[in-house]
């Protein structure tokens, strides 16, 4: 388990479904990545940046008050929210940024949904002295405005995308169009474990530091491994990052939480693995929310970073082998968890991470007291204050939401 085959398949999922124009660059990227992975100076440089620039390792924090309040398993939070720029996205961006410099690219381009990936790309562009263009759906620009301002301050050109649903999917289309046009000068830092091979593998590898640290910390702090790990799934990078080092520890349950938005019975969700069918979008074959004609469906989530109709191919594979389970949580339940963590522990989580929290609450009660759950707290919630405030003011002030639905 773990490495994709030569064509980039994890089991039946993955591959490369892209315009021919990109192929030479993708093959080159794969070659460079494989050689850099073994290159000591590259690894040292990345390690140094992750430590001194991004602030790693991030703590594995025992949430005592939350554990007591929930009255079930012990809850530990992997604090990706404490990294520089405030989400796990920086792990991938430092890796790919360094890679871009090594292969001589002068410009970074990227899509962003929540804006956390865009901010992380803009940040490493400054750090390495590269130009930077970020594509973001107009709807996301409005709901994650603080991150737009951060990117602009960091000198990134932020291009609003007006097509389709004006969210992450459409921003990704535009970034791919830019990439096809500027392939010789630009490196595309895909923000999640999606896209054509080698991206799903490469992004996972750069994010696996979350799981490696968590495992070491767990052995030290709890003298063993956790019983379950819970993480939210948008494209799947924070979840795969923390899951991956535990893949062979089969007693550790791996649970990915998708967003059921306004409810799975409505069309307003983004529960790709729970409700989708395999198909091709953005360069790989994986689960996809689509209609019977193969047109990609519009999605909905209160969390911009989860509002995406696709998912990384390795998750589709983990679903089919049963090694990981995928469940869903509604917007309302996530909002309740957002408020609950803020007020119980003084930690304001990203809305995306709140989906993992909401499911973990239910799981903690079900699994009982002598168990241990690690939640990947993928980011911090400063960016979400506007959205949350207006939802809470607008009568969505229901903080009693419970857990989630098994998917």
């Amino acid at each position: 388990m773990g490495q994709p085959n030569k064509l980039g398949y994890f089991g039946a999922f993955g591959g490369r479904f892209v315009p021919e124009t990109l192929m030479t660059a993708l093959i080159e990227l794969e070659k460079e990545y494989k050689s850099l992975k073994r290159d000591k100076s590259f690894r040292e440089e990345l390690k140094d940046l992750l430590h001194n620039y991004a602030g790693r390792p991030t703590p594995l924090y025992y949430a005592r008050r939350l554990t007591e309040k929930w009255g079930g398993s012990k809850i530990y939070l992997k604090r990706e929210d404490l990294t520089h720029t405030g989400a796990h996205k920086i792990n991938n961006c430092l890796g790919q940024g360094l890679l871009a410099v090594r292969i001589g690219k002068k410009r970074l381009i990227a899509e962003t949904g929540a804006g956390q990936h865009g901010v992380a790309v803009a940040t490493v562009a400054c750090l390495f002295g590269l130009e930077c263009t970020i594509y973001m759906g107009k709807k996301d620009m409005a709901r994650q405005e603080p991150n737009v301002k951060r990117m602009q301050l960091l000198n990134a050109e932020v291009i609003g995308v007006d097509s389709g649903s004006k969210t992450l999917k459409d921003a990704t289309n535009e970034t791919i169009r830019d990439w096809v046009t500027n392939i010789s000068t630009s490196h595309y830092i895909i923000g999640s474990t999606v896209g054509p091979h080698p991206y799903p593998m490469m992004v996972r590898d750069f994010q696996a530091i979350i799981g490696h640290e968590a495992k070491k910390q767990a052995k030290r702090i709890i003298k063993g491994l956790p019983d379950a790990i819970v993480a939210c799934v948008g494209g799947g990078s924070n979840s795969l990052g923390i899951f991956y080092p535990f893949i062979n520890d089969i007693d550790v349950r791996l649970i990915g939480v998708e967003t059921s938005g306004l409810g799975l019975k409505t069309q307003h969700h983004a529960a790709t693995l729970s409700r989708g069918k395999p198909g091709v979008l953005h360069g790989s074959y994986s689960y996809l929310l689509q209609d019977q004609n193969g047109q990609v469906r519009a999605t909905h989530s209160v969390a911009a970073g989860l509002d995406y109709p696709g998912v990384g191919p390795e998750h589709s594979h983990l679903k089919s082998t049963g090694r990981a389970t995928y469940v869903t949580v509604t917007d309302k339940q996530a909002l309740a968890a957002f408020v609950e963590l803020s007020r119980t522990e003084g930690i304001i989580p990203a809305l995306e991470s709140s989906f993992a929290l909401a499911y973990a609450k239910k799981l903690a009660r079900r699994m009982g007291r002598d168990r241990i759950i690690i939640i990947n707290l993928s980011g911090r919630g400063d960016k979400d204050l506007g959205t949350v405030q207006s939802l809470l003011d607008g009568g969505g002030n229901n903080t009693n939401g419970h857990g989630g639905e098994e998917g």
Partner: protein
């Protein structure tokens, strides 16, 4: 019955000219006008016509074809309607049709189910912009079985090894993408284009047709000096978009294709 693609190139070679290949999005701007426009292209002498199945996420397309694609989707166009419209538009004509579709609508419809139905609607070829030869084995085999030419794209960035692979695995013709980029009209074509077409022609046993960014009959003429065929899409969509009324839409489309035809 429509000609097969190799027959078209044979005719063109005999007449010492390149093939003219206009593109139109299926069901654009409406079912009825689509049929009229296809017929006007044939009247003007189009040798083959490429018909685009609309897709929600056309990531190899620029603004014009994105918009026509959105309009067609809003108009309820799917693969079944495309097959019906195509059959109606060109019944009894010689010009073969080529289907252009992103992979996902084909997968959702069922590859074999589609291929089985294509010839009845005068489709003789298939272009899938997000399918590369490495992923094409299954499609190639099914296309052979159902006598549909699978036409691969070849890009300016394709190195020698890839060019070889594309030429070997494709059939019908090689679709040479004129620039690294998406579809859309461009004021000027890259200066290196000529030598590059020559290079690919030297390597290819298949005819070589050039598309992406060809905006006017003059550009078509330049390219036709080197290539076996010229594909024009966005420029036509823009003509249709700009036309003040239906009569002009048909007139302008027809005269654009005629001009291409006389220029090359």
């Amino acid at each position: 019955m429509a000609l097969n693609i190799p027959d078209v190139f044979m005719t063109c070679r005999r007449e010492q000219r390149a093939a003219v290949m206009p593109f139109l999005t299926s069901g654009y701007p409406s079912d009825k006008m689509f049929i009229e426009l296809i017929r006007s292209m044939i009247r003007a002498g189009a040798d083959m016509i490429e018909i685009g199945v609309p897709f929600s996420d056309p990531l190899a397309d620029g603004r014009s074809i994105q918009k026509s694609s959105e309009a067609a989707l809003a108009n309820g166009i799917d693969i079944d309607r495309t097959l019906d419209l195509a059959r109606e538009a060109v019944n009894g004509q010689l010009a073969p049709l080529i289907m252009m579709s992103y992979l996902n609508p084909i997968l959702a419809y069922g590859e074999e189910r589609l291929l089985r139905r294509m010839r009845r609607s005068n489709f003789k070829g298939m272009i899938i912009p997000d399918l590369i030869p490495e992923e094409g084995a299954n499609m190639e085999q099914l296309c052979r079985k159902h006598e549909i030419d699978l036409i691969y794209l070849l890009a300016p960035t394709s190195d020698r090894k890839r060019r070889k692979r594309i030429i070997r695995h494709g059939s019908g013709f090689v679709y040479l993408v004129s620039v690294a980029g998406v579809t859309g009209t461009r004021k000027a074509l890259p200066r290196s284009l000529k030598t590059w077409i020559r290079q690919v022609k030297k390597e290819s046993a298949l005819p070589v047709c050039v598309g992406f960014g060809i905006s006017n009959p003059q550009q078509a003429r330049e390219i036709s000096r080197e290539a076996d065929g010229v594909i024009v899409g966005s420029a036509l969509v823009e003509i249709i978009e700009r036309a003040p009324n239906k009569r002009r839409m048909i007139q302008d489309t027809q005269s654009f294709v005629s001009q291409m035809k006389t220029q090359i």
